[in-house]
């Protein structure tokens, strides 16, 4: 006997996804709930030209793989961000010419939220972007999901399909690497302040 589709507002993500196995149209609610989050996450990580397609593709892939969603997770947000991250890497692999652009993390947006675009602040942003670009991609994913999307270790583990211990160690390594890169960049800037004000 087929169950009736659940009403949009009264079910958790996992319930909606479970229902969508029988009633595919139920999955549209997941889109309505999480599209903005996924879009903003991608917008912080890739140039704007790629964001629309990747965000759209994220939900299509999620729909096709919804049977693999772990129903014990209430929110689909980590799962969707994990799919978006995988698509992001897949896109970079497919088109290596764009790799350089993908490494410009948030380059188009990094100043968007800051009214005080003074030289010092811009330089700090540049240093940070450069340091992030030198990170191992797996470490970068963990770091950005934690810092920007505010996912817990467990949620990152779910998103990336990695054990929690691995997430912790990647995050620690990423922090160490980032710290050392920033320290190097700052000391270089102190030695050559003219270059800093380019």
């Amino acid at each position: 006997m087929r169950r009736a589709p659940l009403a949009a507002g009264d079910a958790s993500d996992s319930e909606r996804i479970a229902a969508s196995l029988e009633h595919p149209e139920s999955f549209a609610t997941i889109f309505d709930r999480h599209y903005d989050v996924v879009y903003r996450y991608l917008a912080r990580r890739v140039p704007r030209a790629y964001v629309d397609d990747l965000a759209s593709m994220t939900f299509i892939v999620a729909f096709e793989r919804r049977a693999s969603f772990r129903t014990e997770s209430d929110s689909a947000r980590p799962w969707l961000l994990g799919i978006a991250t995988n698509l992001l890497h897949e896109h970079a692999r497919l088109d290596r010419r764009e790799r350089g652009k993908l490494l410009m993390l948030g380059a188009e947006h990094r100043l968007d939220g800051h009214a005080d675009r003074d030289v010092g602040r811009g330089a700090e942003t540049d240093r940070l972007a450069d340091a992030l670009a030198t990170l191992d991609p797996e470490q970068r994913d963990v770091l950005l999901l934690h810092a920007w999307e505010e996912l817990s270790y467990e949620e990152i583990a779910e998103a990336l399909g990695a054990p929690v211990g691995t997430v912790r160690s990647r995050l620690a390594r990423a922090g160490t690497h980032l710290r050392s890169q920033l320290a190097k960049a700052r000391s270089a800037a102190e030695l050559n302040p003219c270059q800093e004000q380019r």
Partner: protein, 235 residues
């Protein structure tokens, strides 16, 4: 580590939220994926539904199946055709790239069934069945399956009849009635009045018309059945 995270968070930036148009296009893509899966669950069509099966098998490889996905909404279809899908076969720049008719004006522009569906206010399948290509038409080779003899499946590309073409309704004969106007109207097709002086049995297409009437209710068997009229080019 906390300092690093704080630094990262301070530089997180707040990208612009997606516009309504972008959101709608993304949702449409998802809805199409959902619809494809829903369609895939249906039983295999039989008999005169073969044309539909054919279209579904070509899914994702031609514009037409995308149009079928979008059903009656051309506007919602356009962004998809411009950006991805089948490479934008209907987009002006794609036509120019391929050097086809719209760019050069040398060949008639292939028209998807959904254009006619909109013009006639009918579904895509019915629109495909109503249309016939004419001799020398620019039907893509992979779809050219006998329609030059006046047969058409529900999913074939075709083109509007050229201005001045002599056409008739295989169901009701000479193009002199309001019925023809209704069938033709909106699609930009001309109405042929030249045969109105001849007796029905002497008019081209009389055999097909008679066969159609023998099927009962004016249904034309060669169209796959299920509709009351179709257009037939007069050689």
């Amino acid at each position: 580590m906390t300092d690093d995270l704080d630094l990262l968070r301070r530089h997180r930036g707040e990208p612009e939220p997606p516009s309504d148009e972008i959101r709608a296009a993304a949702r449409l893509s998802l809805e199409r994926a959902i619809r494809r899966q829903t369609l895939g669950r249906r039983r295999e069509p039989q008999g005169n539904e073969v044309a539909t099966t054919f279209a579904r098998r070509r899914d994702d490889r031609t514009c037409l199946s995308r149009c079928r996905d979008c059903r009656y909404s051309v506007r919602s279809l356009e962004p998809d055709h411009r950006t991805r899908a089948c490479g934008g076969a209907f987009a002006p720049e794609a036509r120019a790239r391929r050097g086809s008719s719209a760019a050069h004006g040398s060949r008639p522009r292939p028209v998807p069934v959904h254009d006619v569906a909109l013009a006639h206010g009918v579904g895509h399948r019915a629109a495909g069945r109503r249309l016939l290509s004419v001799p020398g038409s620019a039907v893509p080779p992979e779809l050219d399956r006998g329609q030059r003899r006046g047969r058409v499946s529900g999913d074939q590309w075709t083109r509007p009849l050229p201005l001045g073409a002599r056409i008739r309704c295989v169901c009701c004969g000479p193009a002199t009635t309001r019925r023809h106007e209704r069938h033709v109207g909106g699609a930009g097709m001309p109405i042929d009045l030249s045969d109105s002086t001849r007796a029905p049995s002497e008019r081209p297409g009389a055999a097909a018309r008679a066969a159609a009437h023998r099927q009962g209710g004016g249904r034309a068997a060669w169209t796959g059945g299920g509709i009351r009229a179709g257009w037939r080019p007069v050689a």
